[in-house]
Amino acid sequence: MKVLRLELYRAFHSRTFLISLLIGLSICILDLVTFCIRFGGSGSKVLLQAWIGTDYQFAYNEMFYVLLPVLACLPYGGSLYTDMKSGYDRNICIKTSRIKYAFAKSAAVFISAFASVSLPLGLNMFIASGLFPANTPERLEFMSIRVLDRNLFAVTNSEHPVLYCLIFIIIDGLFAGVIALTSLSISKAVRSHFTAVVTPMVFVVILSMILLGDEFGNWSVMDMLNPRQYVTTIWYQMLTVFLVILGINALVIWITSRKRAVI
């Protein structure tokens, strides 16, 4: 599809994608450097202690996961707002249907958000796995990830740490994609590019506080994305939250795009 190719090109060549990637990479590299300075020489640390997703010794993990919605929306989430505001969408909507344009825009937003979150996490894991062995950390050792048997992928965490990291990198990337779609769905309602990019983060933070998890399970997006899993998430809760966010965004984008007046 020609319009999808155009939107992907625009998304991955945008300055905002580069900025988002640089922020994510900076946090991930700083985490690893700090970890190496502090524990690099001890020889007893393993991948799951060093990887930013499961490292809870430093604040970088929290920083990355709090900023995740912004890292997701920043690359291309505000582009529909910008296109409508500048009138660039006129150039496109005379050459393709509104629905195809909306689909291509959504796909580009989703994929760029996935990349801007997954690449820093992946690079951090790649470097960490070169420096530290992929053994299971001792359960009682200080700084060990507290993934218990009732948590998601507990067996994978013990037996295949690299796979555990990869699974969460993909999950985080997918959630970043659907969170970024929120920027698109609110584009018609907001009055600035900044609002379009930041509002999803506000939604995620407020909803996560309201739906904060307890021993019976967790519906909070912020908590369920963190591979440290300090709050137990059950697989169907994660799937439900993902599908609800995706469904609402897809519906809003479809309704608002279908007969949109391109002014």
């Binding site: 090109y9 009138g87 006129r90 150039n91 391109v262």
Partner: protein, 214 residues
């Protein structure tokens, strides 16, 4: 060969009547001028014909196909409506190349030709951000005429252009018309509009009040 028939089109935006039961027709090989005061509905009519605005009632039929029913957008159209809008980080050529990628059969040579016809240098390395107002307008026209689409819609195309360029654009448009293309143009300058147009529709309060053959 193109024919556009606008049948009893009405459009309201926030309770304001923008187009009021308007019926006009356009056919290829001619330039149609739209005349009227600001807010009379010229631009909205252009948007409706381009498929950017969906009418509340009535229809726009292009070559026998009804817009938004048989097709989502006209098959071959170039537009410049209000301000030209391009990506500021790219050159003029790159901008047109990106937009040309949405159409079939527009080559790099066609893009270069379109830029040269409006007096822009295809090899200019300046980004759109650094273009003057006149250059932006020229790029907007180049985008509309790139690949010589069957229908060209231009809203105030000679705004911000110097006399020499205006003459150049007029010659280009007359040349395109002679290639059996359909051109709809809105312009505040009555003399220029009459020089260019074969037919002039006068629009007032969203309705056509006069049709004049030149």
């Amino acid at each position: 060969m193109s024919e556009i028939v606008v049948k009893n089109v009405s459009k309201k935006i926030k309770d304001a009547v923008i187009l009021n039961d308007i019926s006009v027709s356009f056919s290829s090989g001619r330039i149609y001028g739209l005349k009227g005061k600001n807010g009379s509905g010229k631009t909205m009519l252009m948007r409706t014909v381009a498929g950017l605005l969906i009418p509340d009632s009535g229809s726009v039929v292009i070559n026998g196909k009804t817009l938004h029913k048989d097709m989502s957008f006209p098959d071959s159209i170039g537009i410049l409506i209000e301000n030209p809008a391009f990506l500021p980080q790219y050159t003029g050529f790159k901008n047109l190349k990106l937009l040309a990628s949405l159409s079939s059969g527009i080559s790099d040579e066609d893009i270069r030709t379109a830029l040269e016809r409006v007096g822009l240098d295809p090899d200019d390395k300046r980004t759109y951000r650094k273009y003057s107002l006149g250059m932006k307008q020229k790029l907007g026209i180049a985008n509309a005429i790139m690949g010589e689409p069957d229908i060209i819609i231009l809203d105030e195309p000679i705004n911000a252009l110097d006399e020499e360029t205006v003459q150049m654009i007029k010659d280009v448009l007359l040349g395109i018309r002679d290639n059996d293309k359909l051109i709809i143009i809105a312009c505040h300058d009555r003399e220029e509009l009459e020089y260019l147009s074969d037919v002039i529709y006068e629009i007032k309060d969203g309705s056509v009040i006069d049709r004049k053959e030149i």
